[in-house]
């Protein structure tokens, strides 16, 4: 796999020439054509599902298309910036993000008992520092590990763990369990790609598993426990917190192999399925396009992630490899957690389905992340 170049294996000799040329053209723009096309395919798919999931509201589809537009512009800009700039900014970005997280705890605003937002002065929009940290943490950990020998020494790993833990704990305090787990995972993934020994990896998994009961009794809040309990037995409260998961499973299951047809899903169209345009949008696809539709979407995600991992391994710098490897797998974790949640194998946590669920923040930060990956891959150091 390491020596395989997708662009060569998928094109016939006749197409080869033009594809290669346009590939070269995009290379000058610091864009990976294959990843770009796959992302475009995912976004178009996402818009078409969104039209159905939003109750056929064209205005929502248009707004999401605008989010995609903004995200693509940011992706393009991010791709132009050379990796060393990111490497320079990385520690400062995490430092700033951590300070902002402290600010949230001191002066933040929020809803439903959680403080997640920071009100900026004047006309600036509300700001969620954890979004910044999502990018800043893998950047900072990659920056830290890239300066250290490979495979990492134990003390370096301990230092990296401290870097990871500070923002994680701050987000946990908001409280936002889901985000803190996802953010710490993206940092840990950097350590994984840096070559952390398997012994240490399994030791950590064991420790985390042992910590779970402690978390339940001392760290988790009532609503988080409720979500887990509902996950374990949704039928216990069919009209309350179990409603979402029962309805989403009903939507998925009733879709069968072939689905009920586009815009024909009764669960989605008759409003039985909650959050059908955001977190539960995969259920709309599953109901209307059946198992076939779901598998095609999973295939699309698989191609995107494999392409990302492939180009990660082709990055020139260790920093680039660590960063893009971590971000690729983090992207997949979003996919897995969302679909796992909607299909009832994971508890309900508020994670959108990447590039399909409606929502500006998520779309923009994801596309920005892909911009970073492309930057890592396309910039060559000339010494």
């Amino acid at each position: 796999m390491a020596s395989t170049d997708f662009s060569r294996t998928v094109s016939t000799p006749a197409q080869h020439h033009t594809f290669e040329r346009s590939g070269a053209f995009f290379a000058k723009l610091h864009i990976d054509l294959i990843l770009f096309l796959l992302l475009c395919a995912l976004m178009v798919t996402g818009l078409s599902i969104l039209y159905s999931g939003s109750g056929q509201e064209m205005s929502m589809v248009k707004r999401q298309a605008i989010h995609f537009g903004i995200g693509m512009v940011l992706l393009f800009i991010a791709a132009q910036i050379p990796p060393r700039v990111y490497q320079l900014v990385a520690p400062w970005a995490l430092g700033a993000g951590t300070l902002l997280l402290v600010g949230v705890l001191v002066a933040g605003v929020g809803a439903k008992g959680a403080q997640r937002w920071l009100d900026l002065p004047g006309p600036l929009p509300r700001f969620q520092p954890s979004e910044l940290v999502k990018l800043a943490l893998p950047l900072a950990v990659a920056w830290f590990m890239a300066k250290r020998p490979v495979p990492p020494r134990f003390r370096d790993l301990l230092a990296a763990l401290l870097i990871i833990m500070l923002p994680t704990i701050l987000i946990l305090k908001q409280p936002d369990l889901g985000t803190s787990i996802l953010i710490s995972t993206s940092g840990l993934l950097v350590l994984f790609f840096a070559g952390m020994s398997w012994l240490l990896i399994f030791s950590m998994i064991t420790i985390v598993a042992a910590m779970a009961p402690v978390m339940w009794f001392f760290v988790m809040h009532g609503y988080q426990k409720q979500r887990v309990l509902t996950f374990l037995n949704p039928e216990s409260d069919p009209l309350g917190s179990g409603w979402n998961i029962i309805q989403s499973k009903t939507a998925i299951g009733s879709g069968g192999i072939h689905g009920k047809g586009y815009l024909q899903g009764t669960q989605s169209q008759l409003e039985f399925l909650p959050e059908s345009h955001t977190d539960f949008i995969i259920a709309v696809l599953a109901e209307e396009h059946g198992l076939i539709g779901v598998c095609l979407l999973l295939l699309l995600y698989a191609l995107i992630i494999l392409r990302c991992l492939y180009i990660s391994s082709r990055c020139e710098t260790l920093f680039g490899r660590l960063l893009s490897g971590s971000m690729s797998v983090t992207f997949f974790i979003y996919v897995f957690v969302n679909i796992g949640m909607v299909s009832g194998i994971l508890p309900v946590v508020g994670v959108p389905l990447p590039l399909v669920s409606y929502g500006g923040t998520s779309v923009v930060s994801l596309l920005l992340g892909f911009g970073l990956i492309m930057s890592m891959y396309t910039h060559r150091q000339r010494k």
Binding site: T250, S254, E271, L298, L322, G325, S343
Partner: protein, 617 residues
């Protein structure tokens, strides 16, 4: 150094690639987990979720049938269904229920009772998104006020439904009864039977008293269904299939609303009852108790204050005197006692008694007074009926004996509820030795028989019983059990005759002789109802009665004037007409009416005149 660096870089790359391959394998494995999970839901459990999804989408909604109408014998509507508008709330759609209720209170006025009822209904088991009634009978203005503010009132709606209405109000309140909202107790009773549970699944009201309750089965009808597609908010999107409900049976009663309304008019301001029966059929023409109440108030739920006013009123308007009021029959019993004595051979039409104004039993010093202090002189049976001589009946009663009188009176239905479909009717009291002993009143004394001879003492009858006995008397002993229902959906109702034996007399001419005596009650110079002579359109045979009021408690709260009024005797009149071919039998009681001939008798006469006059012209 350079070489070292190159080798390190190559090692770094190799290490990363190895990790990337591990990551790729894990990612693909995880994707297969998701695909497996989806396959499990979409293939293995597909049918289960298919059903769940259909159940979500499609609801079977029961549709309440229209309740059968009730007509009188002339086709005049006595109970109908009229559209009414009620204010409903779907709590699931309301963000702030308290705020909405406060707003509605200002807008259309919601009483505390409405709120109390609303809370109660909210607590019952119900489907999600099922509307709950908050207030009923909205006026046009109130509907408009709600509609204008609808934007601010999500979840609030105005629903049209048919509600029961009794156009004649008070006049038929006791006999028809009323329907009321199905309460917890009704619900529990209905749910005990699966068939009823199904039939009443859409029904909100049920017959609580009277005909409405007695013929609930017929009036209710058969529930219908519709399969509808709804969204998650319960909004109906389309009807897929509909099975119409079958309306309840329309009932035609023997009641004659002209007579009923006349009875109500004539008893205005009095306490009393009128029962009239068609002699030939036993059909009840009039069954009226005064004062009445407005049954319509009970349909939508009567307010606590109004209900308390009804239950605490000294006049007891909720009490059905016609079927549940038991009074001593007093002198109206004399024709029956007379026949009993004739049958027992203890008297004859020629047998005479000297009435000095009192009667004494052998070996007993007690005087049993005649109502006429100076006495009637020498009295025969006819004169004893006409002038209502007590002494004569003391004498023949004693000589006939309790064991002769009671069984004979029993044949006329005294001491039993003979009605077929008068749900509230009670049995009254027909005393005999056994009754007295088993009720703990000791052995039967000859003095008890003396009192029974003039319909006083233990004997107690309802106006319905006296009217029934009068009808049997008028029919010369031939029984037609009293009934209200005449036809179902215009098809005549046939009741089984039952095993009530007709009454035969040894000497059949005794009937006619008694009729003549009762004729003279009105036409005779000394007849106790001679006041009726001035208005006599049709020949009437009748008998007055004056029942002594006993057992009113000396309650200090009564003002003396009201107490005085309530201590006066009850006035009875029983009659039938025309004499040669009786069509109508009637019993009238006016509580504390004192003079039977001047209070009760004219009411009976007016009703007889209306009935026979109306029938002929």
């Amino acid at each position: 150094m350079w070489e070292q660096s190159i080798r390190d870089k190559a090692y770094e790359r190799r290490l990363f690639r190895a990790r990337a391959i591990v990551a790729a394998v894990l990612v693909i494995t995880a994707l297969f987990v998701l695909a497996w999970r989806m396959t499990y839901l979409q293939v293995t459990l597909h049918e289960k979720y298919q059903d769940l999804s259909e159940n979500n989408r499609i609801q079977i909604r029961p549709i309440a049938p229209n309740r059968g109408l009730i007509y009188d014998r002339n086709g005049i509507l006595l109970a109908e269904n009229i559209p009414a508008y009620s204010l409903t709330i779907v709590p699931e759609k309301v963000d702030d229920l308290d705020e909405t209720l406060a707003f509605l209170k200002d807008l259309v006025g919601i009483s505390d009772r409405d709120l109390e009822q609303f809370d109660k209904r909210s607590s019952y088991r119900r489907r999600p998104y099922e509307p709950i009634v908050l207030r009923q009978r909205l006026s046009e203005e109130e509907i408009a006020a709600v509609m204008v503010n609808r934007f601010y009132l999500p979840g609030v709606d105005v629903q049209a439904q048919l509600i029961r209405h009794y156009p004649h109000g008070d006049a038929f309140a006791h006999v028809l009864g009323y329907v009321g909202r199905i309460n917890q107790r009704d619900q529990e009773r209905l749910e005990r039977d699966d068939e009823n549970k199904r039939r009443y699944s859409a029904t909100s009201h049920i017959g609580k008293t009277g005909i409405e309750r007695r013929y609930e089965e017929l009036l209710h009808g058969e529930v219908g269904y519709e399969r509808v597609e709804t969204n998650a908010r319960g909004r109906l999107l389309r009807t897929l299939q509909r099975e119409h409900p079958a309306p309840g049976t329309d009932l035609t009663l023997h009641l004659d609303s002209r007579l009923q309304l006349l009875a109500a008019e004539l008893l205005e301001g009095r306490r009393g009852a009128v029962v009239a029966i068609e002699v030939e059929t036993g059909g009840i023409l009039t069954l009226y108790s005064n004062p009445g109440f407005d049954p319509n108030a009970f349909v939508t739920g009567i307010s606590f204050d109004d209900y308390e006013a009804l239950t605490t009123s000294l006049d007891k308007p909720l009490f059905d005197r016609a079927t549940r009021g038991i009074y001593p029959p007093a002198s109206t019993l004399k024709p029956f006692v007379g026949l009993a004595a004739l049958e027992a051979g203890s008297t004859s039409w020629n047998y005479k008694v000297l009435d000095p104004g009192w009667f004494q039993l052998d070996n007993d010093e007690r005087y049993y007074r005649d109502w006429k202090r100076e006495g009637h002189g020498i009295v025969d049976l006819e004169m004893a009926i006409v002038e209502s001589c007590d002494t004569y009946f003391y004498d023949v009663a004693v000589r006939t004996g309790i064991d002769g009188i009671t069984p004979f009176l029993g044949q006329f239905g005294f001491g039993r509820d003979m009605s077929i479909d008068v749900i509230s009717a009670v049995s009254g009291i027909l005393p005999d030795r056994e009754w007295k002993r088993t009720t703990g009143r000791g052995p039967w004394y000859p003095g008890d028989t003396v009192n029974l001879g003039i319909g006083q003492g233990f004997m107690a009858v309802t106006p319905l019983q006296l009217a029934t006995a009068t009808a049997v008397l008028a029919n010369k002993g031939k029984w037609e059990v009293p009934r209200l229902l005449a036809a179902e959906n215009d098809v005549t109702t046939e009741f089984p005759h039952g095993d009530i034996p007709d009454i035969t007399l040894t000497n059949d001419s005794d009937w006619d002789h008694m009729f003549t005596a009762m004729d003279h009650v009105i036409t005779g110079t000394h007849g106790t109802a001679r006041a009726l002579r001035t208005n006599l359109d049709f020949p009437i045979a009748g008998k007055t009665g004056t029942a002594q009021v006993v057992g009113i408690e000396q309650d200090a709260e009564y003002d003396s004037e009201a107490l005085q009024e309530r201590l006066r005797d009850h006035a009875w009149f029983m009659a039938f007409s025309p004499i040669d071919k009786p069509q109508i039998a009637i019993a009238v009681i006016v509580e504390n009416g004192e003079s039977a001939g001047r209070t009760a008798a004219p009411i009976a006469q007016a009703i007889i005149n209306k009935y026979l006059g109306g029938a002929e012209g």
